[in-house]
Symmetry: C2
Subunit: 322 residues, 2 copies
């Protein structure tokens, strides 16, 4: 292992950034045998969760979904008290802090499949239940303030391994962008009314009994789409087993539409859920971001994204791609 990860603070711009040298060591797009396939369990750290048929031994074959600590973790839980350097007696502004947190990887299938939309429906539902269970586990652990589950599919979306997988990163603080969103949500749930209205409007893509599939009001990428529960629910951890089955159908259906309507783009999938212990009106959602446009000097300088497809047009294309 290299030097421990650190948060660095920029007093000039007010930004913070994580520097994690170990991330630089991870192999990109390995072309040899896949370390995430069944039978290669020794190449990953010992599992923290596995869904397997009865009788199988831990860390051996026979699993359907397997969750392991990230071997190239961006943050680590063994670096002491989070925020300790910021709470000392010194009045100096904090400039660095240990990179405390957890990073886990979900191996989504034992065989070598590269597209989540192609997993069997029960397999996809197992993955979604594993996301929920790891979030529950870290919520109950008490050391983290926030965790995010996300999935990068394809190199343009930042994936370094092509075997179907997703990740969880948890932190002892709430990221500023998440805190901003919680603030914008105000005191009543703005999402509940928006979902009900838009299911009859031009941003509607699809729906099921429990879930709405909508393009957002100001999409960042062409074809950006959100899946949201119709009934108010702040935390993804509250998902019931039967809801996971229905959500698998909805998410796989959406990814198939995105694939057809936007020429098979690489994409990020993000589970947006309330910070642990958050008491406000958050409404969880899954975001799908097709990475069909790139970020350049304009975006990095101003924080403003340029999209090329209106959300009403994207919804029309996605509806037609059933």
């Amino acid at each position: 292992m290299g030097p421990a990860p650190e948060w660095r603070f920029d007093p000039l711009t007010g930004r913070r950034g994580l520097i994690s040298p170990d991330r630089g060591d991870r192999p990109i797009h390995p072309t040899g045998d896949c370390p995430f396939c069944e039978g290669r369990e020794a190449e990953t750290p010992p599992e923290v969760l596995a869904i397997r048929d009865p009788g199988g031994a831990p860390n051996g074959p026979g699993w359907r979904v397997r969750v392991v600590p990230n071997r190239y973790a961006a943050v680590r839980l063994d670096l002491g008290e989070p925020g300790a350097s910021a709470t000392g007696a010194s009045a100096a502004p904090r400039l660095r802090e240990p990179g405390v947190g957890v990073a886990e990887v979900f191996l989504e299938c034992p065989h070598h499949e590269t597209a989540f939309r192609n997993l069997s429906r029960p397999q996809a539902a197992d993955v979604i239940r594993a996301w929920r269970d790891r979030l529950r586990s870290w919520r109950d652990d008490g050391r983290l303030a926030f965790a995010q589950v996300f999935k990068n599919e394809g190199p343009a979306a930042g994936a370094s391994v092509d075997h179907c997988h997703s990740q969880l990163i948890g932190l002892p603080f709430v990221p500023p962008a998440v805190a901003d969103e919680v603030r914008a949500a105000g005191h009543g749930c703005v999402f509940c009314g928006w979902i009900a209205a838009e299911l009859g409007g031009p941003l509607r893509v699809a729906e099921s009994d429990e879930f709405a599939v909508l393009c957002p009001p100001a999409p960042r990428f062409p074809g950006e789409t959100w899946v949201l529960p119709k009934v108010h629910a702040p935390a993804f951890e509250s998902l019931a087993d039967t809801e996971a089955d229905e959500l698998a159908t909805v998410v796989q259906g959406l990814l198939a539409r995105v694939h057809r309507a936007f020429h098979g783009p690489d994409f990020n999938l993000i589970v947006k859920s309330a910070p642990f212990g958050h008491a406000g009106p958050y409404h969880w959602r899954i975001e799908v971001l097709p990475r069909t446009t790139s970020t350049a000097g304009w975006e990095w300088g101003t924080g403003l994204l340029i999209n090329t497809v209106f959300p009403e047009r994207a919804a029309e294309l996605l509806r037609a791609a059933a």
Copy 2:
């Protein structure tokens, strides 16, 4: 031309995004004849500025640097009053607004060169003076609140044409990320003291009489580096002709170091300058962002970037790459 560009506002998250369908029409990496080479002036809109030897006719050959409106402009100045939809009598929250602004392209050399570091020194200085002159022109015009000059070199940095070029985009409002930074700068210039201190510290890369080259305290990408005037100056427009000569030497020297130290990365170069008419303590700078890492679900969900190289280490590598 397609539908006019629009700002869309997301009341759920508090974000705004630009939707500009014409951007989707631009050719990516054309492999045929280069539209930015001398002799192809008819393929770009009429020039708004050109540096050429005496006697040459506008929009013909004989130029050294040429500035033209962007044929695939993300924003346009012919869409009516900026913000008109936000200032009506209605109390409803604004959800859309015309995409008002300007977009220009700097053709940085008449011959087909793809790397700014390889331009002749006088050529690079002419480019820098053209950046300054267009910023001056839009400042004096009075219709814009902010403009940014930036350069994308290489496809991973978002460039769609490989001939050396840069861009200016101007808006009738100050982007939120820029406003945040102006707020963080407070009431005295935090940059002046930082520059003086760091020129004797581990973030120092190089310096000239007028300029400091430093790695920032919380870099977003491995090898991110800033060029700043040592003497306080809020606006890039104030650059003197002789300073442009010196700045060309410094920037080309930095880009050569980045090329050697970080394996020839694609990069964004951003001219960060105070909003037009800003009276506070802004300190202009040029940011160079090597695009050696990608953004994935974690970054898009949380706004937190993961870098793999500490700034002190990046500065060490850049110093050694003279």
